[in-house]
């Protein structure tokens, strides 16, 4: 039996990947470029890369020339001629100025960038010179291994959850919220939530909704009329809390946990539409404002 952390693929050495970028002629053009491209050419597994690169060139007359480049897609994913056609159709007008295929052919260039996010600041500072990147300290945080006592505790809670699932006699996912500091289960799936006919009644959303309801009731009871305080707590409901579920959460639930600022999640089984083990790894997206740790319990 062991616990496997779900982390982003990364490398100790810089691994390059080749991409197409468009040499943009103005900040305004760059702004509309981002809007168009982010929808049609998502970065998905390259979300550590920034869309725009800015370089400053010193010209002979001592004036600065600023160059802007916008990232489009991996050269392995799309052909240059298809890109030219796409841009001709969707991006050929700027303040009344029309571009032709020559314009795009000249301005679409090949660039290299780091395939993986940097795991530490030192690497980040070097790798980003290739193409600008996002960095989060969380990658280091994710390296801290669980100790033996923690691992024991985690397996015993998961066993309780398995028993609960048998008790409830349901094939649906069940879960609980655990406070690791107080060593206390604060909430768990109940019979009512299993019979709820809401099409999005996934166990994690239910746990979040239930804990919010409990919190509102607590606030009303205590009648401490400090509204501002309540407002600030709202998004941190599951801060420092752990969530245990039998099955890996879907993308929706994985993101609900980001919104709720959960600390860690533990699960046993991965799922087809999971948001943690698959391509998206919602808990580790560099540009999101919160990251949590995800672990899979392996019984062997």
């Amino acid at each position: 039996m062991h616990i496997q952390p779900i982390v982003k693929e990364t490398e100790q050495e810089l691994l390059k990947i080749e991409l197409y970028a468009l040499h943009l002629h103005s900040p305004q053009q760059a702004s509309s470029f981002i809007k168009l491209i982010s929808i049609h050419f998502p970065l998905t597994d390259l979300s550590h890369l920034k869309r725009i690169k800015k370089t400053t060139e010193l010209l002979d007359d001592n004036k600065n020339c600023i160059n802007l480049y916008g990232l489009i897609a991996k050269t392995s994913d799309v052909k240059k001629e298809d890109l030219v056609n796409f841009l001709l159709q969707n991006f050929n007008n700027d303040n009344g100025q029309n571009f032709d295929s020559d314009y795009f052919n000249q301005r679409i260039i090949k660039i290299s960038a780091s395939k993986y996010p940097a795991t530490d600041k030192k690497k980040f500072d070097i790798w980003k010179t290739l193409w600008p990147m996002n960095f989060h300290n969380d990658y280091q945080k994710h390296d801290i291994p669980l100790n033996d006592i923690e691992i024991q505790e985690i397996f015993s809670i998961m066993n309780k959850l398995k028993n609960l699932s048998v008790e409830l006699n349901s094939s649906k996912n069940v879960g609980l919220i655990y406070d690791p500091k107080k060593k206390l289960t604060t909430l768990q799936t109940d019979l009512n939530s299993l019979t709820d006919s809401h099409p999005l009644n996934h166990c994690i959303l239910q746990l979040i909704n239930a804990s919010a309801k409990n919190y509102v009731i607590k606030l009303q009871k205590s009648k401490v009329g400090d509204k501002r305080k309540g407002l600030d707590c709202e998004s941190y409901l599951l801060k420092d809390m752990d969530v245990f579920v039998l099955k890996e959460p879907c993308i929706m639930c994985s993101m609900a946990l980001v919104h709720s600022r959960v600390s860690r999640i533990f699960y046993v089984e991965n799922t087809e539409e999971g948001g943690l083990e698959g391509l998206l790894k919602v808990h580790l997206v560099p540009s999101l404002n919160h990251h949590y740790r995800a672990f899979k319990l392996i019984y062997d």
Binding site: T44, K50, K53, L200, I208, I251, C253, R261, G275
Partner: protein, 173 residues
């Protein structure tokens, strides 16, 4: 989209992040559900406009299975976040029209592309830039209001203000 903006305005007046959504039946062209952000009053960070509208639609039905999601189109003032984009795709909505991009949480291209990533669920067609400026203006009003209410403008509100401006290039670089 104007009706969605009205919902966003209602949220603004109630001290919620001003995002509004309406669901329209493709055949009757009638609005079947409305929602606005409701995270602060419910102390629940997942109560986004889309979820509020979905729950309103479900409340009107006797059984959840009666709702034909594939016949509904969503109009929302801000690009759905990763969570909402996944929810709308799982339900099988026919189309999403949105106002401004959501650079912090967007699930239809800005942060992740939940609408068309590999999945067993049908792709969720999305189109942005409808009444974009109006949607951004409401968000700006909200963050300015937040700043005024705070006894001394905190780091957090400053950060929100700056991020809210991400549509322009400087903060992206």
């Amino acid at each position: 989209m104007k009706e969605a903006l009205k919902m966003a305005e209602e949220a603004l007046n109630l001290g919620e992040v001003p995002v509004g959504a309406v669901f329209v039946n493709n055949l009757s062209k009638e609005i079947v559900g409305r929602g606005r952000n409701n995270t602060n009053s419910l102390k629940n960070a997942t109560r986004h406009a889309e979820f509020e509208a979905i729950d309103e639609i479900l409340k009107k039905q006797v059984a959840a299975s009666e709702v034909e999601w594939k016949l509904l189109t969503v109009f929302v003032t801000v690009e759905p976040c990763v969570m909402c984009a996944s929810a709308l795709r799982q339900l099988g909505l026919s189309m999403v029209y949105f106002g401004c991009n959501n650079e912090r949480f967007g699930g239809c291209g800005s942060v992740l592309s939940v609408h068309n990533c590999p999945s067993k669920f049908k792709e969720l067609p999305c189109e942005g830039n409808y009444f974009k400026d109006e949607a951004i203006l409401l968000l700006r009003k909200f963050y300015i209001k937040e700043n005024e209410h705070a006894p001394n403008p905190t780091k957090k509100t400053n950060r929100l203000l700056k991020i809210e401006d991400l549509g322009n290039l400087k903060s992206v670089i």
